[in-house]
């Protein structure tokens, strides 16, 4: 199954090429991250579909069509400027980054924590917690720490 960097690369490239919509592999992790991007307003729609187009009507995922299943993201632009400039991984298999709540608070406050650059205004961090894939602010509200998988700005 593709790692998070696959989604990051596809989304970034899609924005740079000024595409209207892109198709990414349909996995639980990808869906969770795409939902966060949608809730934060980086992407205008997230839909399931096949490799040609998003589903017009509801199509259940079966063993027959699983190979063609995709997640379609509709990208957002204004004045030829993309809503998302960079979606980069933070925690890598070679160096995992797991934060406690206090370290997350430092990041949110504009201070660096554990060699991770602080969040600029308008930047978000996506982390994988035991309460699911959450955005940094949501995780702070629920008082859970976790592994920072990506940051988007």
């Amino acid at each position: 199954m593709p790692r998070i960097y696959d989604l990051c690369a596809r989304v970034q490239n899609g924005f740079r090429a000024r595409l209207q919509s892109i198709a990414v592999p349909d996995t639980k992790m990808n869906l969770a991250v795409c939902n966060i991007l949608y809730r934060e307003g980086f992407v205008s729609a997230v839909a399931r579909g096949n490799h040609m187009a998003p589903d017009a009507t509801y199509t259940p995922t079966t063993t027959d069509n699983i190979a063609t299943r995709r997640l379609w993201l509709t990208l957002k632009y204004k004045d030829n400027r993309p809503a998302l400039n960079s979606l980069s991984v933070v925690s890598k298999p070679s160096k995992k980054v797991t934060f406690t709540v206090n370290q997350m608070k430092d990041l949110a406050a504009g201070r660096r924590a554990k060699f991770i650059k602080p969040l600029a205004p308008g930047e978000i961090a996506i982390l994988n917690t035991n309460r699911g894939v959450l955005e940094l602010e949501e995780a702070l509200k629920q008082n859970v720490g976790g592994e920072i998988i990506a940051r988007a700005s």
Partner: protein, 300 residues
């Protein structure tokens, strides 16, 4: 003859050395004088002055006045027919009450000077909405002045290149380049172009940037970081000068890669131009923006 005529009278006088004050002599002296006028002053005695007079004869002065007599014309072309007619000028009514504050003439006399032909002039007519006073009050700094050479078939043609940064310290700033034979003229050209190229740069709190900025221009990478009030301008000296003109007081900056002055200045201006603002981001993403510093910490 009435008193009016007497006032208009221009005194008739003659300079003679040995002159006795007699009416007859007076008559004989005033040759060709206007008969009517002389008759009015027949009772007056025009005293004569002479070095050789006796002590018994009273010494007196001959005053010479402007005269319209034919004997001593003022100008060879001026005679009685040509003379101005002063009969229409009234001494009281023809002099207005509103006196000027000083006697300076409003119009200078016209002069015929050959037009100066100056080759290679630099005109200071800059096409801006700013007027001359505002242009004078702008902060101007010639950051780069160097000698450049153009190789021709004829040989080396040296000229001076100037890069001038201009700003009002309150958001308006621009830069201009100029080349000329003389350095001063090149700087002037550059200043005029800079004033023409001025644009408004948005700042946060009118003292710093809204967000950290990283920008690459040719081989120069500029990192500009927003800093709290009172921090000061701690960056490359060219960035420092540009920020002074723009009005950015708190900044931390670093130039990576090439530090060529020309490119550093151009890179800084581009970086300031390509800033992203939190308001724009919030609008694009459909989020509500709250300035924590202003709302909660009471910053002005």
């Amino acid at each position: 003859m009435n008193a009016r005529d007497s006032l208009k009278f221009t005194m008739i006088a003659k300079k003679h050395k040995n002159l006795e004050t007699t009416l007859s002599s007076q008559y004989s002296c005033c040759q060709g004088s206007m008969q009517s006028i002389s008759r009015a002053f027949s009772k007056l005695s025009v005293a004569s002055y002479s070095k050789t007079l006796n002590a018994a004869v009273p010494c007196a002065l001959i005053r010479s006045y402007a005269t319209t007599s034919n004997r001593a014309p003022r100008h060879r072309l001026l005679d009685e027919s040509n003379a101005a007619d002063l009969s229409k000028v009234d001494p009281i009514l023809d002099f207005s009450d509103n006196k000027p504050a000083n006697l300076d003439q409003s119009k200078t006399f016209p002069f015929n000077r050959p037009p100066e032909v100056v080759l290679n002039t630099v005109t200071d007519n800059v096409d801006t909405p700013l007027d001359r006073l505002e242009q004078m009050r702008l902060l101007k700094k010639a950051l780069v002045v160097k000698r450049v050479v153009n190789m021709n078939g004829k040989g080396k043609q040296p000229s001076m290149y100037a890069l001038v940064v201009v700003g009002n310290g309150n958001g308006l700033a621009g830069y201009g380049e100029g080349k000329d034979e003389e350095a001063s003229r090149a700087v002037r050209k550059a200043t005029n172009r800079a004033i023409k190229n001025m644009r408004y740069f948005e700042r946060y709190d009118e003292r710093t940037l809204a967000m950290d900025v990283s920008h690459k221009f040719h081989a120069t990478t500029i990192h500009l970081r927003s800093r709290p009030p009172g921090f000061g301008n701690r960056s490359n000296h060219y960035i420092h000068e540009i920020c002074r003109c723009v009005g950015i007081h708190d900044l931390s900056g670093k130039v990576m890669g090439s530090r060529t002055p020309m490119n550093v200045i151009k890179a800084t201006f581009e970086a300031l131009q390509h800033q992203k603002f939190p308001e724009e981001i919030a609008q694009l993403r459909g989020k509500k923006l709250a300035d924590v510093q202003h709302t909660y910490y009471g910053a002005q």
